[in-house]
Amino acid sequence: MDFLNTPWPWYIGGPLIGLMVPLLLLIGNKQLGISSSLRHVCAACIPARIPFFQYDWKKYSWNLFFVAGIAMGGFLTYLTTPADYEISLSSETKTDLMSLGISDFSGMVPSEIFSWSNTSSFQGLIFMIFGGFLIGFGTRYANGCTSGHTIMGLSNFSLSSLIATIGFFVGGLIMTHFLLPFVI
């Protein structure tokens, strides 16, 4: 079962990701989206009388099952991935990242940045805590993330999704090319 323990090329994974759009629509009239789940967690656990979190989150609980499934899907991959897994990254990216001080290219994320021992450093604070904060704050402000806007919304020719997606890339390019060297 080679396809289970080797990475998939874009032309296999991409179309399968796109297939989630009609599957969710046909099965349950649901538009693909992930970041709303974070709002439902707030509404369920810490609503604190904030109007934005006063709604019947149980009506949207399918989304929480969906993200729980995503984590389980990740775990299935974990079981089928060899321990010394390394992404076949482009050599230019490798060179760029090495010049920024990254030396460990094993796994999905650089262990030098994303580790428990790095949580108390300035770098850890920026990448994990502040980075996560921006994801939660930004996706809700934009009313969606890469799945809800870039995949679902753009597939539906939604103008707000096009604007949001341009924003995603503007933010990502600013961070990568201008800010990252100062915080890494």
Binding site: W10, R39, G73, Y78, I135, F137, A142, S147, L159, V170
Partner: protein, 136 residues
Amino acid sequence: MKHTIYLILGVFFGFILTKTEVISWFRIQEMFRFQSFHMYGVIGSALVVGIISIQLIKRFHPSTFEGEAINLDGKPLTFGSAIGGTIFGLGWALTGACPGPIFALIGDGNLIFLLVLLSAILGTWIYGLLKEKLPH
């Protein structure tokens, strides 16, 4: 249990995201540096399938498995899409993850992303708190 199907679809989605390596910080860096076609191929081909599917749905009006008419209402157009989108983009490049991949990364054994998830929940909460005061 009526939500089991979404759990199963989630497993499918999480498995694809991980196998295609779109949950990787390295891949996101490669994308924002325009040094590989991989991520653009993933997003582009996902979009082709998504667009064709929605065009077919618009043309043939299939009902859902439960007999409902399919709802394709788009999201409202606001300035928030641009401002919030850019803010999310900054976080995307820092963490190398969007919300879906955060969950997949945790499942894939990168438990440190529980911390990123908690921070993202906090960010969502602070947005809810400040919503009325923010330009939209």
